[in-house]
Amino acid sequence: MTVALYLALISAVLLIISILLLTRAVGRASEAAVDNEKEVSLGFKEDALALEVSARIFNPEDLNFVATETSGQFAHTFREERTTLALGWLRHVRGQVRQLIRIHRRTVRVNSDLKPLDEFRLFFGFLLFQLMSGMLYCVIWVHGPVEAARVLEWSLQFAGKLRKIAEEAVSVATPVRAEIIKTDPRMSGGTKSS
């Protein structure tokens, strides 16, 4: 059992190193592109045209129109093409964010004022973004862009509801706590003595 555990641990370690090396190798290509262009800007560029196109890709109107007006096979091909476009758009956004973080890391590695806690926060923010966009990628790949947009809409609404419930719970709990503090004799005694 112990041996299996240790061997599994070693395998996991090797796997992590391989993934990191692979990521680094992939990243080098885009890093080289940045170096060539001498473009060292820290920024995520919002492309208005791409945003307009993506809104169209995720809109069900076109798909509904094609589904009602054309054959099933044509609608299927149309849906596949839209999926490819959506995946390409998402890959582009993910790539930009990866580039942003890569430039950040390259910049702060020589900065002696680096705060590890801030770096961890940023790393988890990036990880969360990658996870979320990775999940969206899977949903788009399996169900298509229209369905993915619905899932996103639903999850955002669900998150909003959860936040509302949490806020209500906090607002109910706060006066009770305030009441306890107010009626605590030790507290009132302490106030008198001071």
């Binding site: 112990t2 041996v3 240790y6 061997l7 070693i10 370690v13 992590i16 190193i17 990191l20 090396l21 680094r24 990243g27 890093e31 170096d35 060292v40 820290l42 920024g43 995520f44 919002e46 791409a50 945003l51 993506s54 809104a55 995720f58 809109n59 069900p60 109107e61 998402l90 956004v93 930009q96 964010v97 942003l100 973080i101 950040h104 890391r105 390259r106 910049t107 702060v108 590695r109 020589v110 900065n111 002696s112 004022d113 680096l114 705060k115 590890p116 801030d118 770096e119 940023l122 923010g125 990036f126 973004f129 979320m132 966009s133 969206l136 862009p145 947009a149 996103l152 809409e153 955002l156």
Partner: protein, 253 residues
């Protein structure tokens, strides 16, 4: 016979590495690494003598000198950190914050385990302790490698060789010691061949990578990028948030 041949080959390779560092005048750049190598060389030579003339003391001498080597191995990891991150104060600061935490966490576990062991004697329990100490080294090395990859720290051929070779050595040691602990004396026969063979492989890696001096490349970061850290973090966070918002906007028809 085979294990003795491997033993002698190991001694020859270690001597070659030391001679090359003196001839090439780069011993001063990796002092702790060569100190470690010298201690391994002296240990191997003295163990050979003890094995032939005082076989009764062999076991004790083997395990106690092994712990000295493990400690020197930790010093080697520290040297790798010092050299690789000397030009990267930001990454070095991150390492200074993370590595001691991991080291204390791992070493405490080892000491607690040894403390709780009712009869700690060189032999079976020493083997377990060595494995635990090797795991501590492994954790430290792995953390350093992850840090190098995360911050894209370029390493020179020498340092790559030291890190790669020593990682290989630590990894094979953990596997050997675990299997020997689990399979007992049945594995001992096989171990006599596997351990020197893997060590000779490590020495070959070092011979190739440390044949001549190859310093670490200088940082590629442009001087104008040395901005205020807080404003850099704020900017990155802002851009990350805008990317998230952009993604939401793009997917909401």
């Amino acid at each position: 016979m085979v294990s003795s041949v491997l033993w002698v080959i190991g001694l020859a390779l270690e001597s070659t590495l030391l001679v090359r560092s003196v001839v090439g005048n780069f011993l001063k750049h990796y002092t702790l690494f060569y100190l470690y190598l010298l201690s391994v060389l002296l240990r191997s030579a003295s163990l050979l003598a003890v094995y032939h003339w005082w076989p009764n003391f062999y076991l004790s001498v083997y395990w106690y000198s092994q712990f000295l080597n493990v400690l020197l191995g930790c010093a080697l990891v520290w040297e790798v950190y010092k050299i690789a991150l000397s030009r990267y104060p930001g990454a070095a600061r991150m390492a200074r914050n993370v590595l001691p935490f991991l080291f204390i966490f791992a070493i405490t576990r080892v000491f607690v385990k040894a403390w709780n062991s009712p009869n700690w004697i060189p032999g079976r329990t020493a083997l377990e302790t060595e494995r635990d100490l090797r795991i501590v080294q492994g954790v430290l090395l792995l953390s350093l490698v992850v840090l190098f990859l995360y911050y894209a720290i370029p390493l020179g051929r020498n340092l790559k060789g030291i890190v790669g070779g020593y990682s290989l050595f630590v990894l094979t040691s953990i596997v050997h010691l675990t299997l020997r602990d689990y399979l007992g004396d049945n594995f001992q026969h096989l171990w006599q061949y596997i351990q020197p063979f893997s060590y000779v492989s490590v020495l070959l890696v070092w011979c190739v990578t440390l044949w001549s001096y190859a310093p670490n490349p200088k940082p590629e970061t442009e001087p104008q990028l040395q901005e205020d850290y807080q404003s850099l973090v704020r900017a990155t966070r802002r851009h990350l948030n805008s990317a998230r918002a952009y993604l939401h906007r793009g997917m909401r028809p």
